[in-house]
């Protein structure tokens, strides 16, 4: 198949970027989107041109590295999928595909389609952990976790931290990400101990880093490659409000 690409090119974080047009022939419908970009880059290198920079790693939709805003959708067409699992058969022959980086003040563009998502790491450092003695694996029955809580915590733990929620949100809000991380730990006995402080610190860090606030549009949930629901945001709000009224900080 033959496609037309409209890709954001930006030399570095400080440069003023612009869209560059490419025409690509001989694209296989079974190629993944990432393979198609590799194919484009091979062509560009052969022609002595600058290849397009983009982030990718596992190609199994579990690492959260790929981060492309394709034709108005983070991670492109289809639901519950990351860019690496989008295949070219999702596009029509002759289609024009516009590829942009995640757009948010807190995710500055490093080069072309690559953004700096360190803000998520900073939020995690603020409280997305359990500070218990991590010695040997405890006995299986030492910490009893109910099936419902275990399933719910697992659902939240599916978050790969790709930032599609921020990219989809009209407010560039990281609330779904923080909600998933706070909920995952708050539901389990090991995480309950620090639940209050965690909710307060992670939300404070999220605000400090310049993410917007949640207005419950549900766009994050619709684009999340792991299908994490906004009911976790209600849980985060609950955790945060309770912590605010009870924690003396």
């Amino acid at each position: 198949m033959k496609i037309k690409l409209n890709i954001w090119k930006q030399a570095n974080a400080k440069a003023k970027g612009k869209f560059e047009k490419y025409e690509l022939d001989g694209v296989d419908a079974e190629m993944s989107f990432i393979e198609m970009l590799d194919y484009l880059n091979e062509k560009l290198i052969k022609e002595g041109k600058e290849p397009v920079a983009f982030e990718h790693d596992c190609h199994e939709a579990i690492c959260g590295c790929c981060s492309l805003y394709i034709n108005g959708h983070p991670h492109g067409p289809g639901s519950e999928t990351a860019t690496c699992q989008v295949h070219m058969r999702s596009f029509k022959d002759g289609a024009t595909i516009t590829v942009e980086p995640w757009r948010a003040k807190s995710f500055p563009v490093l080069k072309d389609l690559m953004v700096d998502r360190n803000a998520f790491d900073k939020i995690m450092t603020a409280g997305g952990f359990v500070s218990i003695d991590a010695g040997q694996a405890p006995d299986a029955n030492a910490n009893l976790v109910g099936k419902i809580d275990a399933d719910k915590a697992f659902e939240a733990a599916a978050c790969i931290g790709c930032g599609a929620c921020v990219a989809a949100c009209k407010n560039s809000s990281a609330t779904l990400f923080v909600a998933a991380k706070v909920s995952q730990l708050a539901l389990l006995p090991q995480g309950k101990v620090e639940a209050k402080r965690r909710a307060l610190n992670m939300v404070a860090k999220m605000d400090e880093l310049g993410f917007g606030s949640c207005t419950n549009t549900g766009a994050c949930e619709a684009e999340c490659p792991k299908g994490i629901g906004i009911d976790f945001i209600a849980k985060l709000n609950r955790e945060y409000l309770c912590a605010s009224f009870s924690e003396a900080e």
């Binding site: 605000d207 009911d231 849980k235």
Partner: protein, 226 residues
């Protein structure tokens, strides 16, 4: 707790509780307005005069005004901050599925505010500062403001006011379809089961409130003009 007022969730919490308070007010307002539909206005005039002369209302009125002010203030502040979170916009506008109302709450709120100003000028101002004709139902012993006459006069005399009040109700409908369930979500009173239920209740509430308010000008048009 000191950070609560400036945190994103704290600010949304105030949006949410003022929103819930204003939704209770809308319900009371509609119940009283529904008296316009019965009889020749005596019932409504009695109720309207009771409400405007009641000492409790002297306390409730400023609280209500404060509810509006806090809601509008935080909405403006949050919207401005949210706009700043994405300095460079996308070339291809976001195509993610989300309700139109949820993405345009501030615009809808602004339209409702414009309507509210006109609405206050139409009725509240006139009743409060006394340019309303007097009416008596007991042979002149007690004189009441003829608020019914004021309402009926407006709705049967100027068709564009009927259109304006119906438009106001439509904006309110859209605002409530998102605002109602969203308020519960923000205070954390929601989960994967209740999210669907609350959205349904939001539509029912919005239909009753907006439909009720829109019916009043239509009622006067049918009663006096058609």
């Amino acid at each position: 707790m000191s950070k609560f007022f400036t945190s994103s969730i704290g600010q949304k919490f105030f949006m949410s509780i003022t929103g819930l308070f204003l939704m209770v007010f809308l319900k009371v307002h509609l119940i009283l307005n529904s008296l316009l539909l019965f009889g020749d206005g005596e019932l409504f005039n009695q109720a309207a005069n009771f409400m405007s002369s009641n000492p409790i209302m002297k306390v409730v009125e400023p609280i209500l005004a404060l509810g509006f002010i806090v809601h509008i203030f935080y909405a403006s502040f949050i919207t401005l901050k949210n706009q700043m979170a994405r300095p460079q916009k996308y070339k291809v506008a976001n195509k993610t599925k989300a309700s139109w109302a949820s993405k345009n709450m501030y615009i809808l709120g602004g339209l409702i505010l414009i309507f509210l100003v006109i609405h206050l000028a139409n009725f509240f101002w006139k009743v409060k500062f006394g340019t309303v004709a007097a009416i008596s139902y007991d042979g002149g012993q007690t004189e009441l403001h003829d608020v019914y006459g004021l309402v009926a006069g407006l709705f049967k005399g100027w068709w564009w006011y009927d259109a304006l009040y119906i438009a106001g109700a439509i904006f309110l409908f859209l605002h409530l379809t998102h605002g109602f369930w969203s308020a519960f979500q923000t205070i954390g009173w929601d989960n994967d089961k209740w999210i669907g239920r609350l959205k349904v209740i939001a539509y029912i509430y919005a239909v009753i409130i907006a439909g009720g308010f829109a019916f009043i000008p239509l009622f006067f048009l049918i009663k006096y003009v058609v």
